[in-house]
């Protein structure tokens, strides 16, 4: 179980997170929505331990990831996977090597086995034939899919997706959503997915949380949020320009 308790974080005096409280049960998929630049990526980076909170706790099965060090921290991180917003592919490695990298470094799999796994994995995200290209030679959408493949190949228990389908065409976006959902159903990983794909996302997650002004404004089932009377949530979900949220 992931529990974020009263998390605060500022950058150079700018308060980005101002007391986040969030709970995600094992095996659940949670969509994290909210305006651009509101701190969704920052929140994910806290959950996986890349950023340290100014105050508050991030408990993963009752262990505070921001306080762990050394081997314990390593073991906890091994349960995680993260798909970065920009892909974060290793640009000196080919697509194949990128996906093979965690297998080569973290498992004792044989080369032939790795080859087979990586090819299957890449086929699943629709990237057969791009194995020998370098990240600089493929499109932004392809990078996202490679990043996804690199993460899924390790079968982590908890996966944090930072906008896995933003910038993909609608068909591939849907296919990726379905793939994530079916993987999530069969492997039962816990997922937190930052996304702007509203309302598509509602059909594929168990819970939705909305980040607004540094707080979790609301958390509930997709139906609850869609039927919410809160003017902010209503405005955001229905994409209306008139309302309490100002774009500037």
């Amino acid at each position: 179980m992931i529990e974020v308790i009263n998390l605060h974080k500022s950058f150079n005096g700018q308060e980005v997170l101002r007391g986040i409280n969030l709970k995600v049960n094992d095996g659940q998929a949670l969509a994290l929505i909210g305006g651009s630049g509101r701190g969704k990526s920052v929140l994910l980076k806290h959950i996986i331990g890349l950023l340290k909170p100014d105050s508050g706790k991030i408990l993963i099965d009752n262990e505070d990831i921001s306080k762990l060090r050394g081997r314990k921290l390593k073991r906890l991180k091994e349960r995680f996977g993260m798909v970065f917003q920009g892909g974060a592919l290793f640009d000196s490695l080919t697509v194949f090597e990128n996906v093979a990298f965690p297998l080569r470094e973290k498992t004792r799999m044989k080369a032939s086995q790795i080859r087979k796994t990586v090819f299957e994995d890449l086929a699943e995200v629709g990237l057969s034939g791009a194995e020998n290209k370098y990240p600089a030679e493929i499109s932004g959408g392809m990078k996202k899919r490679v990043a996804l493949a690199r993460c899924l190949v390790m079968n982590p228990e908890i996966i944090l997706f930072d906008e896995p389908t933003t910038g993909l065409d609608p068909l591939i976006g849907k296919a990726i959503h379905n793939m994530i959902r079916s993987c999530q159903k069969s492997y039962k990983f816990t997922a937190i997915m930052v996304t702007h794909e509203i309302p598509d996302i509602f059909s594929m997650v168990d819970r939705v949380a909305m980040l607004y002004n540094g707080f979790i404004l609301a958390e509930g089932t997709p139906e609850e949020l869609q039927n919410s009377k809160d003017p902010v949530i209503h405005q955001f979900i229905h994409g209306e320009l008139e309302g309490p949220i100002s774009i500037n």
Partner: protein, 260 residues
């Protein structure tokens, strides 16, 4: 505010920055060195970085070494001939190369060729979140990015230095013997008489420590780069400037320790 106060403020800020930066760099090096004994040992990456830092600098070292030896011989020959001491040309050229010019020029060449590239490469990996990606895979970025470079620097610099001195002495030979008509026996014979193992060790200590300095500073600057392309370009410049200056300052202190 009065100009005097402003001046003190600037000086104070600078001193605080220098002390802080030295401390951060020291902690960085200590953390990196502490990790070296623990697995995984990434020999493949060390070889790759030796190729990058060392092998690919060889041509530059061959050229600069030869011409440094040649110009040195040319300058010194005319000075010596005023005292009729031309026969000392060999040892003077050799000692200058072994103790000073070899280590220092090699280090400056490596800084220009590889130090800047290291800072840029690691900096770009930082701003494109590749370092974060390593971290989230529970792999230690120091193991993958810093330690191989540090070890490669320690191995490469002495070897490059050896090549530099070797071709430099032959460059001096070309000028002294080929151009000025010294006898070959005088040139090499007197080198053997005057150069001893302490001189060679001095050169070795220098190039070893320069190997650490260059990779340490360049990796640090890249690893803690600022934001965006501007951050990386700043880090790259700082890596080169700071390495070059530190090499010369450290050279003086190391010499004074070794001489004493």
């Amino acid at each position: 505010m009065s100009p005097i106060l402003t001046l003190f403020r600037i000086i104070g800020a600078f001193v605080i920055f220098v002390i802080g930066e030295t401390g951060r760099m020291g902690i960085f090096l200590a953390e990196v060195v502490f990790l070296i004994p623990f697995p995984p040992y990434l020999f493949g990456r060390v070889i790759k970085q030796i190729n990058f830092i060392g092998v690919k600098t060889t041509l530059v070292i061959l050229l600069t070494g030869t011409f440094t030896g040649m110009v040195l011989a040319l300058q010194i020959y005319f000075t010596l001939s005023e005292f009729g001491a031309e026969s000392r040309l060999g040892p003077i050229v050799a000692l200058a190369l072994i103790k000073e010019l070899g280590p220092v020029i090699c280090a400056l060449m490596v800084t220009g060729r590889a130090g800047s590239a290291l800072a840029a490469e690691i900096g770009i990996m930082r701003i494109t979140e590749q370092i974060d990606a390593l971290d989230t895979m529970a792999l230690n970025p120091y193991k993958y990015l810093i330690i191989p470079n540090l070890i490669a620097g320690i191995i490469s610099l002495p070897l490059l230095n050896f090549i530099f001195v070797f071709v430099g002495v032959w460059g001096g030979y070309a000028v002294g013997v080929g151009l000025m008509g010294l006898s070959s026996g005088t040139y090499f014979g007197s080198i053997r008489d005057f150069v001893d193992s302490a001189d060679i060790l001095e050169g070795l200590y220098k190039s070893l420590s320069f190997g650490i300095l260059i990779t340490w500073i360049s990796c640090y600057k890249g690893y803690f780069t600022g934001y965006g392309a501007e951050g990386v370009s700043k880090s790259t410049t700082q890596a080169v400037v700071m390495s070059s200056v530190t090499i010369l300052i450290w050279d003086y202190f190391l010499t004074s320790i070794l001489v004493a």
